[in-house]
Amino acid sequence: MFKRKVFLITGLVFLVLVLRIFYLQIIHGKRFFQLSRANSIRILPLRGARGRILDRNGNILVDNSYSYELMVYPQNIENLEDFLKKLSSILGVSFLELKSRIQNKLNSFLPISLIKELDKEKAIILEELKFKFPAITIQLVPKRNYPFSRLASHILGYLSSIDWWRLKRWQDYGYSASDTVGYGGLEERYDYYLRAKDGGLQLEVDNRGRPRRILGFKPPRNGKDLYTTIDLRVQKIVEEVLDDYSGAVVIMDPYTGEIIAMASFPNFSPSELSFNQSILKKMLSDSNAPLVNRAISGLYPPGSVFKPVVATAGLCEQRMDTKTSFFCDGSLKIGNRQFSCWDKHGYQDVKEAITHSCDVFFYKLGLSLGAEKLNEYALKFGLGKVTHIDLPEEKAGLVPHPILRKLNRRIPWFDGDTANFSIGQGDLLATPLQIVRMISVFANKGNLVRPYLVKSIGERDISARQRNILPLGIEDRILNIIHNSMKKVVEDDTGTAHILYLSGVSIAGKTGTAQVNRKQSHAWFTGYFPVENPRYSICVILEYGGSSSNACWVAKRIIEKMKEESLI
């Protein structure tokens, strides 16, 4: 019967295990016990460096510098009083202060960190003292270094200790309570790749604390470098120009979705913010919201910047052709309300209406299209949903729909709302990043791209995975009409962005002055350049910046400086 055999075999196998345990614990127990005992094992932590973040040409945006850390093995201290007095005289830190740092940890095998950042001179003096006091260990500790201080702060993010919420979610990925993690920007989004893995040496030491042999070695592992799509030169120009304003600028490659520059003001200094709870608290309560990346999380009504989309809808749905004109006498009565235009334009066809940003033309076009069609085209151009850029905290914005509005807020939808929708006002909200992607559709002949910032992680090129280019299926003929109209916005004497004509670069674009209740308007400019084979698309928004010409000025200065540095 096989069953008896089976019982026998299982029994024997368990016996083998028991014998092995007996061998380890009883026969060799003494040796292993000594090895594991506190006074013969030291652990020397070795810190790995966090991955660097570089621009598209390999220039460093963030790297690491090293500082000296003083650590002490409590087990090796022979006379605590003497030892601390000596240290206190060298370091200039009071005896009691040092004592309080060391007090409750006297039985640890791990070294206690006494001073985090030590001067080089003191480090050398202490290193020499090591012969007298074997407890002393000086270690090199990597620390984040920002060569351009506040530059690209929103893209980079900052570092701090892991919080409850993240710890809960990331425990399974090997994070623990003592970890440092990135907050905001690439530091957060790519933390898993950037983070270093600390290693350590496990040493067997003799009774004087001198290392006798190495029992275990876990090498520290540096984090992986991130190669971004940012061009440091462009980023610098953008931040220089935008410095005094509150707002955001995004510059993107319209064909691939690579972000060339992205700035949001006010900004912050990552090095000041890291590990500094008090500054963080101050910034969080600051009404100017310096921590918010306005380029991806700022929601603004797009205003007239939205008009090219409405015009595209009109042409695609055949509600008009290039010969259709609408008459503008300065206002339009819808229901019992007057909807005004900013000027009296007379007869306007689609090209003129875009060039002059005529509101009445778009009220009429929008009403003939209907709110559902406007909604459809806004969504088609990527508004109302996140772009999936590789940054945290991206906002989706809002594209209104009559039925959704009734369902969610129980407010009926009027024709006046459709009119507002067609000039990019009302409930419509978008981020500058969504706008730059929307305008890129005209630059790249009909594709909605996914914007992204990181092209490779370490040696691994992830561009192919990052790119996501969605053809929208809009006829070239229609795209060309809008494209030519937006050229005229800059070229024509009467175009709303004619100031940009003087920059010496051929630009196509659209301005916007988005009205806000009881406050100054937001100033928009978005466009792309050079007109033939565009290399860059740009979006500028000045928060409460007044007239759109202010945004045009900013764009102009950026483009001029880029030309000076022959980046165009």
Binding site: F2, K3, V6, F7, T10, G11, V13, F14, V16, L17, V18, R20, I21, F22, L24, Q25, I26, H28, G29, K30, R31, F32, F33, L35, S36, R37, A38, I43, F109, L110, W164, L167, K168, Q171, D172, Y173, G174, S176, A177, S178, Y192, K197, G199, G200, Q202, L215, G216, F217, K218, P219, R221, R460, I462, R465
Partner: protein
């Protein structure tokens, strides 16, 4: 009427409780800092496992026969899903997130393989398998059944569980009563195949550096881990260092001290006597499991019971012997004891099946 099923039930609960204490101790004192500590999670998982165990016990185990293929397909779908989701998340991924807890479908795969093989072999009677059945029918077709999930699990990559599937297959082929000659041929075939597997293994380890998987696992190769594990076990000596007294696990110099190497953490704190006690419990568990199989007449149920008992036995043996440095390190949890939701739930489900088999004898 015997009460083997209650015996294995209580033994498994007892082992689980010891496990919770050990997990608490290993993660001590950082337990205090963590918002949702592992031992609490483990308690939740065990409770869930007990509920499922009881449901299965009350259920008619014959229905497993009916759903065998369905279960198999579900397992494959889940495994493929893990692969796809893993791909989306830029790397290897063993878990599926269900509600707020992670589930590891490779654990389910072990159980569904047992069920489907038990069903397959119960079609063929012992006589048939001895006299008529050929190599293809008795070895090759069932092998096809396991090769797909095994491959998917290797992809994850999870060598331990993939091996488990294979061992389960071997033991069921054996218990099905196959001709000794075939078994010999088969083993010879395996020995020839093993260098191939070795080449494959090395590639997988290279791959491991590129793809991210559990970064805590084995940074310097098995050698380091085994040395640490042996020091941990050995330093426990006769009486151990006492609960919360372990130093190797708590200092994190023993990797995976709360999962794969938890036995070392336990024997460090409870010494030789504690280890003997725990091993005794496992032995009794296997013993009563075999008793259940012995007292079952129905072939499907018997094979099912034998499959489950072999699964437990092999896993316990591999885990403990790798901890003791007498088997290579493959990532496998110690059943009922290691931290790990899917493992705990599937183990208790299996206990439920064993109990149910004994109940309706």
């Amino acid at each position: 009427m015997n009460n083997y099923h209650f015996k294995i039930f209580f033994i498994s609960i007892l082992i689980s409780i010891l496990g919770i204490f050990t997990i608490y101790s290993v993660r001590y004192p950082s337990n205090v800092l963590i918002p949702f500590p592992l031992y609490i999670r483990q308690i939740i998982w065990i409770s869930l496992g007990l509920v499922l165990c009881w449901i299965i016990y009350k259920w008619d185990v014959r229905k497993l026969w009916d759903i065998a293929y369905f279960l198999y397909i579900i397992t494959l779908v889940l495994l493929i899903l893990v692969d796809i989701l893993g791909y989306v998340r830029l790397g290897a991924q063993r878990w599926l997130r269900i509600l707020w807890l992670n589930f590891q479908p490779s654990e389910l795969a072990k159980l569904s393989i047992i069920v489907i093989l038990a069903r397959y072999f119960s079609h063929i009677s012992v006589k048939e398998i001895r006299r008529e059945a050929n190599f293809i029918k008795s070895i090759f077709i069932p092998f096809l059944l396991i090769i797909v999930p095994m491959f998917l699990i290797l992809q994850q990559p999870d060598l331990g569980t993939a091996l488990m599937l294979f061992f389960i297959y071997v033991s069921l082929v054996y218990f099905a009563g196959i001709k000794r000659r075939y078994l010999l041929i088969f083993f010879l075939f395996l020995i020839c195949l093993s260098p191939l597997l070795w080449v494959f293994l090395k590639d997988y380890q290279k791959e491991r550096l590129l793809v991210f998987i559990n970064p805590d696992k084995d940074p310097l190769g098995a050698g380091y881990t085994v040395t640490q594990s042996k020091i941990t076990v050995g330093s426990g000596r006769l009486f151990g260092k006492g609960w919360l007294g372990g130093t190797q696990g708590q200092l994190r110099f023993l990797p995976e001290a709360h999962t794969d190497f938890i036995f070392a953490s336990f024997s460090e704190e409870w010494g030789f006597l504690g280890s003997i006690f725990l091993i005794g419990l496992y032995y009794l568990f296997i013993f009563y499991g075999l008793k259940i199989a012995e007292h079952t007449e129905e072939r499907f149920k018997q094979l099912l019971a034998l499959g489950i008992v072999s699964m437990f036995f092999i896993q316990i043996f591999i885990n403990i012997s790798m901890t003791l440095g007498i088997a290579p390190v493959v990532g496998l949890p110690l059943v009922f004891f290691s931290y790990g939701g899917s493992s705990v739930v599937i183990s208790f489900l299996s206990v439920g099946i064993l109990m149910s088999i004994n109940k309706r004898r």
